[in-house]
Amino acid sequence: MLYTQVKGRKVVSTGTAETVGRVADLVIDPRSHTVVAVTVRGSGHGDTVLWSDITAFGTDAVTVPDGEVLKGANDAVKELSGTAHDVLGKRVLTTDGEQLGSVSDIDFDPQSGAVTVLVLPSGDIAGSRLVGVGPYAAIVHAA
């Protein structure tokens, strides 16, 4: 599933059948290269839902048990959020000091949350090569 397609998707509560918000961003942990949380906008509850609290990531909606799982970001998630840690659009640098381009999209597994591919105009990079993400660049292991 692609990050760019997921932005703006409805987040719906299976308990009340109501839309509780829309997907704003995916919070990625570079060390485990998985999506650990989803930030949600326009909700009456909190702005962050942990991946483990999500029921399913469907092609038309993200389902959660109820709006209560949307909370404020905990410390662990806060550390991984913000533009400094945004992977989409970030310059990609290898551990050999070579710039490969910018991340145009991210492919992730909707079941496990694993980041499988970083899509770049110059070619795809396996998600497992991700080492860290910071304000200047996303670092990946050299091929």
């Binding site: 970030k90 000091g97 670092i139």
Partner: protein, 194 residues
């Protein structure tokens, strides 16, 4: 595969941690004139209004010197600048900066001025100065073209002069490709003797 690069390209290159932070940029490249080994770098800040930093980066702390960035593990590997620079070299002034130095034969002839320095980074993670790019004087007879002088053909260097033997003008290369071949041949020769 070892790579040749110009110090003019390395100066100003960002120093990036594995966490994706550009903590500094390269200011000076520090090397020993004897064997050309690069000992490390002095650093400058990255902001629009930042100046030189009090920290330097030892070559041993460099993970990789790539075409777009100098990679380090984390910001803790930078050290105090006095560890990088010898006390007799004064940073800031022309003292010790080989760029702009006159290339002088030991017989007192001016061959030109140093306009760039060529580095070789090998996959064995060594980094050495292998030669100088010289803006030639009339004495070289190349009509102020730029030529390359391999380091082994130089005797010594300071912020004022690079001393070369009188025969050095016979060893100059006229392009980087030819220069690369000359460096390879010289290194092979060294290994054969070593």
């Amino acid at each position: 595969m070892s790579r040749l690069m110009r110090t003019s390209e390395v100066i100003g290159r960002p120093v990036v941690t594995l966490n994706g932070q550009d903590i500094a940029q390269i200011k000076d490249v520090v090397y020993s004139a004897g064997g050309g080994a690069v000992g490390g770098f002095t650093l400058a800040g990255r902001g629009l209004f930042s100046g030189p930093l009090k920290q330097g980066l030892s070559w041993s702390a460099v993970m990789a010197l790539g075409p777009d960035a100098v990679m380090i593990r984390d910001e803790d590997v930078v050290s105090s600048v006095t560890g990088i620079l010898d006390a007799s070299v004064r940073p800031g002034g022309s003292g010790g900066n080989v760029l702009g130095s006159e290339v002088l034969t030991d017989t007192g002839i001016l061959l030109g001025t140093v306009v760039d320095v060529i580095l070789e980074v090998s996959e064995r993670r060594t980094c050495d100065v292998v030669g100088y790019e010289v803006s030639a004087s009339e004495a070289l007879g190349t009509h102020s073209a730029k030529v390359f002088l391999p380091l082994p053909d130089t005797l010594s260097a300071s912020g004022e002069h690079v001393m070369v033997p009188a025969a050095a003008k016979d060893f100059v290369a006229h392009d980087l490709a030819g220069f690369g071949a000359a460096v390879k041949a010289f290194r092979k020769n060294l290994e054969g003797q070593g």
